[in-house]
Symmetry: C2
Subunit: 276 residues, 2 copies
Amino acid sequence: MKRSERLVDMTKYLMERPHDLIPLPFFAKRYGAAKSSISEDLAILKHTLASNQDGILETVAGAAGGVRYIPFWGKKHAQKYLNELASRIEDPDRILAGGFVYLSDIIGNPQDLDKIGKLIATRYAYSNIDIVMTIETKGIALAQAVARYLNVPFIIARKRSKVTEGATVSVNYISSSLDRVSKMELPTRVLKENSNVLLIDDYMMAGGTLTGMQQLVKEFNGNIAGICVLCEADFDDVKLIEGHLSLVKIKKIDDKRKVIMAEPGSLIAHTDFGNF
Amino acid sequence: MKRSERLVDMTKYLMERPHDLIPLPFFAKRYGAAKSSISEDLAILKHTLASNQDGILETVAGAAGGVRYIPFWGKKHAQKYLNELASRIEDPDRILAGGFVYLSDIIGNPQDLDKIGKLIATRYAYSNIDIVMTIETKGIALAQAVARYLNVPFIIARKRSKVTEGATVSVNYISSSLDRVSKMELPTRVLKENSNVLLIDDYMMAGGTLTGMQQLVKEFNGNIAGICVLCEADFDDVKLIEGHLSLVKIKKIDDKRKVIMAEPGSLIAHTDFGNF
């Protein structure tokens, strides 16, 4: 196999397995090539990813070493996308009753999900996330997009019991936007003790739902490694949680005057982009 | 930019935009290279994908032409994965009450979702799918995985109204496994008239839920271009729908004796793999 063919295959292979450590002998065997040739291939790959600020190729030395592709987006890419996203959200047709915003087109668009997933996975690339957790329904697509780039499983808390999941653990929480006590639950077998959990959701008002998710994680003796939402309603003064990040902040919704104002959220300021 | 770097970047660029037609002048400009060099690059890419039976690079000639990456898995890859998947499902710990099977670990695993998505996207690669549709909750991850490889949006029917979606159209259907009339609905703005819709779900007993989805699509004057489920309960004799495909068939569940039997479903036999 020629270098050119190896590079195509290697790029595809690594992209399909983010964060996985691939030993160099694996590639040497796959291509029937010397390890020195493989190292040269990987140097080209690393350089190309870095010059686009779109991915890191990490080399781990030693007997247990290898190479690892880390999806990682540069700050400029992130800023450009979030500016664009915020301005797309500033569309009066998105205003729904009760301070909510229509986001289903974004959450159902694979190209947006890829960018959102890559951006959040950049922030938590070195946070040792074991598992991504969300709550049905709208958070699922986002959690999956992030989980794919971190290459970890994702799990879904549910608002009501379903026969197809077996035994569950449930908690009560105050759904602040609705001002009532609600219940959410998680099947017992989906979350191991002491897991490092990243919480993801689509829309946050005061954060009541996220407090419920925090409680659930605590029930499993898990650790909250991060909280990130797509949109945060910044006009809701009472916040029930701390330390969460957002991609977009909704600054104002005026249903009568048909005005919605949005801007990039706190994610970028709280991301260490390194050289990117 | 050297050929080797172009190949890395081109592979990544195309993989992130499945089914999109990219004009050759775009690459020529991106790399400051002659169109003839780009054509040679693409020939290498095409050849490498084909020899792995893992992707098609389609060249469209003419002024409006260009190149298109089509995720497409060879029959051997498909068979191997479905055999493995069926045997993983044959685990008595998966047996749940009422003829259901625990699948959340598979549906929450990015590596499985990628393979399932690629496999279903192979079957419908040339079916002109406009949109993928599923119903909450378990179908969402599968629909998203397929939508990503077809690079089309996906939409989610819901079993109960939610304030965050605006106006909806609803239908009643017979949820056969529960033997009762249920309701599902879809926001009016998510589905355009005359769309070619691919229905995706996780688990099918008699197919009652899928008949509801069919009705919903009809309400929007859409066309059902395909129906595919992850698991089909083959022991359920009464089938309410026709023409559906499945990745895995559950042949038998015996809760008392702790026996579950599964085998690859109908998808592969109904897929035209071409030279792959």
